[in-house]
Amino acid sequence: MEKTKKKLTSKRKKELIFVTILLAYPVLQFLLVWIFVNSYSLILAFQHIDIEGNISFAGFDNFMRVIQDFLDPNRGSIPLGGMNIPYNLMIFLNSLGYTLITIFISLPLALISSYFLSKKMPFANVFRVIFFLPNIISTVALVYAFRMQTIDPNAGVFVKFFEAIGIYHQNWPETTTIVYLYCIWAGLGYNVLLLSGAIGRIPKELFESAEMDGAGSFKEFTKIMIPMIWPTIVTLIVLGLTNILTLYLQPYLFNLNNNETIAGTIFEGVSGSSVQYPYYAAFGLLFSLILAPIILYIRRVISRKYSDTDC
C-alpha cells in the first residue's frame, strides 16, 4: 500500500464514497448512543435538577450523597444480625454476591460437569440440547417458572423445602439468596456448553499420552484440561466479575424486598422522577470508576497464567 500525496485517483474516490455511505449510519448511531450518551452521563453526574427541570451545577454533591448512603446507616439501612447495613452497602453486597457465586460456585460446578460430559456419557448430546434451553427462553418466563416452583405457595414443590432450611423469601438476605439459586440454576447450562466446546478442541493425543504415563483422572483434570481451556475459563471469570456491575434483570423480575443490585438500582431509578437522575448517574459512575479498573486488572493477571498455552 503506497502512501502518496498525489491527487486521489477517481477509482480511490469512488471507493471512499462507498465506504462513507456504508459507514455513515453505523458511525452516527455509535457516536450518539455510545460516545454522546456516555459523555452526557458524566456531565449529568455533576448536575442538580429541580422539580421544575432547572439544571444547575452541583459539584460533587451527588457523589457525596452516594458515599454517605454507603457509610451512614442513619440515612436508610437494613437490619442484619443486630447490625444496620446502610442501604448502598447492601446494594453493593447483593451485587458482589453474583460475582462470588458465578466464580466460586457456578464455574467449578460447570467445570466438573463438562469434564464428565466429555467422557463418553450416554445421552451427552441430549443433555447439551436441554442445557441450552435457559439461553433461549426469556428471562421473564424462566424467572416465572422458577418463582412458581420455589416461592408460590399455590403450586411450588420447593416452598416447603426452602422453609425447612430456613429461607422464607420475606427478608433480606434470603430474598437475594433465592435469586442466587436461580442464577446458578439458569446459568449452569451456558457455562457447561462453553467449557465442553473448549474441551472438545483439546487434541485427544494429550489425554492419551497422559494416560500412558499413568496420570489419574484428577491429574488429567488439573494438569491438562484446566491449562488447555484456560482462555475460556478466563472469559467466564471476567463475565462473572462484570456481573457485579451489570446484572439487574433477574433480581428486578423476582421483585422481592431489598434484592436490588447496582445496575438494578439505576434501572429502577430511571422509572422515577428525573430529579433523581443526577444521583443515579453519579451512583453508576462511582461504582464503574472503582470496579471497572479492578475487573480489567484481574483479567490481565489471570490471562497471564498459563499464557504459554494459547488456544
Binding site: V37, S41, K120, F127, T139, A155, Y277
Partner: protein, 292 residues
Amino acid sequence: MESKRKKRSPMMSIGVSIAFIVFALYSISLLFPFIWILINSFRNVDEWRSITSMTSYWSLPTNWDFSNYLTMLTESMGDNGSILEMLFYSLLLTVLGTIINVFFSACAAYVVAKYEFPGKKILYSLAIFAMVVPIVGTLPAQVKFMEFLHLDDTVIGVLFLYSGAFGFNFILLHSAFQGISWNYAEAAQMDGAGHFSIFFKVMIPMCRGPLISCAILQAIALWNDYSTPFLFLNSHKTLAVGLQAIQASLENSQNYPIMFAAIIVSILPVLILYAVFQKKIVENTVAGGLKG
C-alpha cells in the same frame, strides 16, 4: 472403541454414573416447570380456583380446556392491552430490529474488513472497547437523550437503539467477510460491477451462512428483550414486558391458567427456532461467548 472402554478406571465409571444422575435431575428441573405450565394452561380456570390441596395442582386437568388461549389472546388485560396486541409489538420489533441490526452490522463489518480508509483501526478498537469495558449508570443520560430527540415511547426509538452496528454481530461478520477472498470481487469488477453491486450481489450471498446465524440469535435476543421496550415503549407492551406486568393481577384474581397460556405463547416461537436451527444457534453462541 473397545480399547478405550477398557482404559476407564472404576473410579471414573462411578464418577460418570454420578454425573449422569445429576445431569438427568438437572435436565428434569429445566424441563419440568414448563411441562407443568403447559399442562395447567389447559386447566379450566374454575377448576384451578377450586383446587385446595397441593396434590391436585400436580394432577392432570379433568377436562382439557383450550379456551384459555382464546380468552388470553383476545381479552384486554387491564390497561395493558390484550396479549394479541403484545404479540404484534413483539413481532414488529423483533422482525424490524433484527433486519436493521444485521444489515447495519454487515455494512460496517464489510467495510472495515475489506477496505482501507483513515480511522479504520480506531473504529475497530472502539468497537471492542465498547464491548469489553463495563459501564453502568448511563441509563439516566440515555433516557434524557431519547426524550430530547423525542424518540422515547416510539417504535422508531426502540429500533434506533436496536440498530447499533458495533456489537457481537460486527465481530462475527467481520471475521466472516475477512475469510472471503477478494478475488471474487475482482472478477465481478472485470464484468463492470461497482462497489455496491459487489457488496449486495457477491459478498452478501457468499456470507449467507453467518448472516443467517446472526439474524437468528439477534431475533431470539430481541424477542426476549425486556429493558429496552420497558424503558422506551411505555404505552405499548411487548410480550416480555406485558407478561411481567399482568402477572400480579392475574395471580390475585386466581387466573393462573391464563397466565400459563401466555407464558407458553411467549416461549413457543423461540422453541420452534431452536428446534429448526439448534446446531447453528449453539455454535454461534459458543463463538460469541469466546470472543466476549
